[in-house]
């Protein structure tokens, strides 16, 4: 069975959703961002438990050491690679602990690591954005002449439904023009996303630290 679901930054929510699905008699088999592959279980007496960590590694050796540590503890690695960061584990032994974190600070640190990456990406790309802005790539209009972004002839003379349709149709292009092209607009959106998800991750970190 394949389920599609998007979780933005909230790891606890994702864990709970996965385990609720498991409780219906499944096992998590594979994960690609947004796509969860479950396997129907014939024997539902020992339902597995899934826990998620976030950690990146600079070498394969370090990653192997990390995975082996979890394996020693009784956690089987289901999905995740050393650069992307989200690691999915499944409890294999009855005697192994139910959690991969035994205190709230180390548990909250997952979010801290996500935040660190997002904010670094945000900062680097923001400086790129500033450089782009300084070279005059953007044609950001002032409040008075924003209408200049709309090239449709006779747009402002149209009425009612016709105007609305033409206006809405051209708005994405107009925004694209303001940013000097669709590519740079996309880049701007991506940078904003880094900032947004970074803040969200920090919020989760701060909240979980206190628990």
């Amino acid at each position: 069975m394949i389920r599609h679901k998007l979780f933005f930054t909230n790891i606890t929510k994702e864990e709970n959703w996965i385990n609720r699905t498991i409780a219906q008699g499944y096992r998590l088999e594979q994960v690609i961002p947004g796509r969860y592959k479950f396997q129907k279980l014939t024997d539902v007496s020992n339902l597995p438990l899934v826990r998620i960590d976030y950690r990146t590694f600079s070498s394969q050796e370090q990653f192997t050491d990390y995975l082996t540590l979890y394996e020693d503890y009784g956690w089987r690695h289901i999905a995740g690679n050393r650069s992307e960061g989200i690691q999915y584990f499944e409890k294999t032994r009855a005697d192994c602990q139910e959690e991969i974190f035994s205190d709230s600070i180390s548990k909250a640190s997952r979010y801290r690591r996500i935040f660190n990456l997002q904010i670094a990406l945000f900062a680097v790309n923001l400086s790129l954005l500033v450089i782009m802005f300084c070279t005059g790539l953007f044609h950001l209009p002032s409040f008075s002449n924003w209408k200049e972004l709309y090239y449709t002839p006779g747009l402002w003379q149209m009425n009612g439904g016709q105007f609305l349709l033409a206006f809405l149709f051209e708005t994405p292009f107009a925004i694209g023009r303001a940013f000097g092209g669709l590519a740079s607009l996309l880049f701007f959106i991506i940078v904003v996303c880094f900032g947004f998800f970074g803040c969200k991750a920090f919020y989760h970190y701060w909240k979980e630290k206190k628990l």
Binding site: T64, Q97, S106
Partner: protein, 103 residues
Amino acid sequence: MNLSSYLPLTETTWYILIALTEPGHGYYIMQKVETLSRGTVRIAAGTMYGAIEHLLKQKFIKSIKSEDKRRKVYQITELGTEVLKLEAERLRHLVQVAENHAL
């Protein structure tokens, strides 16, 4: 370097450092700590990995050569031993104060 700024050590750190007076890998540390603490301190996998990383950064432990290709082995450093000695002294003083007050 003023090592007393590292005190007091958390219970987890105290136990991990003592466990690493003999070289060992992550899971070994967990088992040793559980024994030393009489089952009260059970460090989970993710917490353990983070604690080891933190102690490596503080240079209280170091990674030593291991024949096991899949597991890194750690041991306490001289600095770590110094910190342990200071903490032990602090704890002895606390116990002394308790005994002086019939506790």
